[in-house]
């Protein structure tokens, strides 16, 4: 179950990416606020959703990349970042009538923890608790689920932090950035994501794996390549018609 993540514009990228990787993506993962590249989906949600539809992968997964030093910080910092993230998801949903929540009511919301960033338990608890408690669109179905993008074997606290999380603060999945064998969507590696269970007592599984990053793998198109061991579109926004 392979797809792309990008900080670029889907509608500018999908044709070149399809040419380069020989296969349409099943899904896209896009940056939402707070992130350095959050503006593209926020400002062009209709065009982005249309791009996802046209690409043949009409599912939009969610990641947020706050100022990385904040991830070492306090509960209040985590809560504030999560509040902006949830609000940006709602804002996109408000703009695009064809954007629907997952049928299983579980939208995975990844927090981007880069390799050289430490994640404090205070921040994670503030962040994850807000996401898990968010009453999306006043539906009372609480469809947002905290999840974590990280390199499980990084020397900075990541898996050990989420190992200490409790209840609904436990992430639904890790999205592992390692290892990086590269490949294409057509010729992709067997699922082999690094697992937090190998680096800590966390039992959270890596259900999503970024097996190829643009700079490290020398890709031309502005995408990274991802593979899931579960049906990843089930945990993404669905674009149900061309907006």
């Amino acid at each position: 179950m392979s797809g792309f993540d990008t900080a670029g514009r889907i509608h500018h990228t999908f044709q070149s990416a399809r040419r380069e990787f020989g296969w349409p993506p099943r899904y896209w993962i896009r940056y939402f606020s707070p992130s350095p590249a959050a503006d593209i989906f926020a400002d062009e949600a209709v065009a982005e959703s249309g791009g996802a539809w046209d690409s043949g992968g009409p599912y939009v997964g969610c990641v947020s990349s706050p100022l990385q030093h904040r991830l070492s910080g306090s509960f209040a910092e985590g809560q504030a970042d999560a509040q902006a993230y949830a609000a940006s998801l709602l804002a996109a949903w408000n703009v695009v009538a064809q954007l629907k929540l997952p049928a299983n009511n579980q939208l995975w919301c990844f927090l981007d923890q880069e390799y050289s960033t430490g994640l404090s338990l205070s921040y994670w608890n503030g962040w994850a608790n807000y996401i898990a408690n968010y009453n999306f669109a006043h539906l009372h179905t609480y469809p947002l689920y905290p999840a974590l993008y990280c390199a499980p074997f990084s020397p900075y606290p990541n898996c050990t932090t989420i190992a200490a999380a409790k209840g609904l603060n436990i992430p639904s999945s890790v999205w592992s950035s390692e290892p990086e064998p590269c490949g294409t969507l057509k010729h992709r590696p067997k699922f082999n994501a690094q697992e937090c269970s190998s680096a800590s007592r966390s039992k959270v599984r890596s259900h999503l794996w970024q097996f190829g990053e643009q700079p490290g793998c020398g890709y031309t198109a502005n995408v990274d390549l991802d593979l899931g061991d579960v049906n990843i579109p089930s945990y993404c926004f669905r674009v149900v018609a061309r907006p």
């Binding site: 993540d5 670029g8 606020s33 707070p34 992130s35 350095p36 959050a38 503006d39 926020a42 209709v46 990349s65 706050p66 990385q68 030093h69 904040r70 991830l71 070492s72 910080g73 306090s74 209040a76 910092e77 809560q79 504030a80 970042d81 509040q83 902006a84 609000a87 709602l90 949903w93 408000n94 703009v95 981007d112 880069e114 390799y115 050289s116 404090s120 205070s122 921040y123 608890n125 503030g126 898990a132 408690n133 009453n135 669109a137 009372h140 609480y142 689920y145 020397p155 900075y156 209840g167 609904l168 436990i170 992430p171 639904s172 990053e213 643009q214 700079p215 490290g216 502005n222 995408v223």
Partner: protein
């Protein structure tokens, strides 16, 4: 009272090795024109373990092949002793424009509400030079407070922008646990944020305020900057569910408050994006520049707050992954901007619509987005750009700004995550594992290393 105001961050001070070991005096002619007396490097980060031991640092002169190291080992161990400055910090500390002071905030429960304490740390001595507290009253049990200090250059005022997030609704609900698949009961909480302002006078040590803004429900995240007369604050209304779709997202607003006031004298819509701690600087004109989307500077009028936007073309490059971006105002009125994810650094002149005065291209470092965000620094004279080495080579490099050409580089294969230049001119690199600190001369000669039990996420 507070659900989680207590922070996880700690700040420790390490003597600048060049000054500490060559006579305990700042150099006669410091390379930094703005912080000539700084003798310490202040390290902010997350302790390896709790309770925090206080930030031990183990210094070592650079190992062979540098047989005649500049610092005798016996002296260094005695004189390079780190000292803890603060822990349980509620938000990332902020450095003053003249680099002489670091402001940090702690938040604690008080009988009548929450006690917010602002401490000013003197960069020259690493001592708290002034401290003051204010109590936030009439807030709900379980509230969280996010405090952002803002220095107003040329004044003794430090503004404090407070985001107060309170639980305004609680209900019983049920939700499927992702990791077990079971439906479990939950205490769902609705959080609502508003903002407040307070002003600290570093002469008197007294606070004015807090002034609560009538802007609930807003997003807690703000951006803020000040000039010598006004405080600029970007806020965003929290979007609400659309009754009919499509409904456009709320725009942020920038409000201009006279220093000391709780009432804005101007408040205008600002172009997106929503504020989220992006780089904001006070320009020499008194206007305020906000680097947005990693590629454009929005300048807010000092008089009205109205915004004009200029795209910085060398930064207007898209990659699959976003990048750290930094912007800092320089003494000569120019600004230095860099985006390590696309390997670009520029010096631009705000007085000429951000005309590019110098541009350097460099290989993308190994961690262009991760902490610390400082991956490239411009020397105080503006003639040399120091950057982390590329993802393959590691090490550090120096570029001649006038020509854009590589002047020299040094690497033994180690890939660093952050790069700073201390007021003494010494370069400091940050690594994930000990020794986490390495020191280099401005000519990239290795000087020494230091180990610490702090995961470093920022350096002041």
């Amino acid at each position: 009272m507070l659900a989680g105001g207590i922070g996880a961050g700690a700040l420790i001070a390490l003597p600048d090795p060049l000054l500490a070991l060559r006579g305990d005096k700042p150099p006669a002619r410091s390379p930094s024109p703005v912080a000539p007396d700084s003798q310490y490097v202040l390290l902010y980060g997350m302790p390896e373990s709790m309770p925090f031991s206080g930030g031990s640092v183990a210094w070592a002169p650079y190992p062979e092949p540098r047989p005649r190291g500049p610092f005798p080992a016996s002296r260094t161990r005695e004189r390079l002793v780190a000292k803890p400055v603060a822990d349980k910090i509620a938000s990332t500390p902020v450095l003053s424009h003249d680099r002489t002071t670091v402001a940090l905030v702690t938040v604690h429960t008080a009988a009548a509400g929450a006690k917010v304490t602002l401490a000013l740390v003197d960069a020259a001595t690493a001592l708290i030079s002034k401290q003051g507290s204010l109590t936030i009253t009439d807030i709900r049990k379980g509230a969280n407070i996010l405090a952002t200090p803002v220095f107003a250059p040329g004044t003794p005022t430090i503004a404090l922008v407070l985001a107060i997030t309170e639980p305004t609704g609680r209900r019983q609900a049920r939700k499927v646990e992702a990791h077990t698949g079971r439906t479990v009961p939950m205490h769902a909480v609705t959080w609502t944020s508003h903002h407040a302002l307070a002003y600290f006078d570093r002469h008197s040590g007294k606070f004015t305020g807090p002034f609560h803004l009538d802007n609930a429900p807003s997003l807690a995240l703000t951006s803020a900057a000040a000039n010598s007369s006004d405080l600029f604050v970007w806020t965003t209304k929290e979007p609400q569910p659309a009754k009919t779709r499509p409904q456009p997202p709320p725009l942020p607003w920038v409000s201009v408050f006279p220093l000391g006031a709780g009432q804005a004298r101007a408040s205008v819509p600002s172009p997106a994006p929503w504020p989220a701690g992006e780089p904001v600087v006070t320009l020499s004109t008194g206007e305020v520049g906000r680097l947005v989307n990693g590629r454009a500077v929005q300048v807010s009028s000092a008089r009205t707050g109205e915004v004009t936007q200029t795209v910085i073309q060398p930064l207007n490059v898209t990659r699959a992954k976003p990048s750290a971006v930094t912007m800092e105002a320089r003494q000569d009125g120019t600004v230095f901007l860099t985006k390590p994810g696309v390997g670009q650094a520029v010096v631009a002149d705000p007085a000429e619509e951000f005309r590019i005065k110098a541009k350097v291209s460099y290989p993308v470092p190994a961690t262009p987005l991760g902490a610390p965000w400082s991956k490239a620094v411009l020397s105080p004279e503006g003639d040399t750009l120091y950057v982390l080495g590329g993802a393959k080579a590691g090490g550090i490099s120096a570029y001649d700004v006038a020509t854009g050409k590589l002047a020299r580089s040094y690497s033994y294969g180690r890939k660093y995550n952050g790069l700073y230049q201390l007021p003494s001119g010494v370069l400091l690199t940050i690594s994930p594992q000990n020794p986490r600190l390495e020191f280099f001369s401005p000519h990239l000669s290795p000087l020494g290393t230091a180990a610490t039990d702090l995961h470093i996420s920022a350096v002041f």
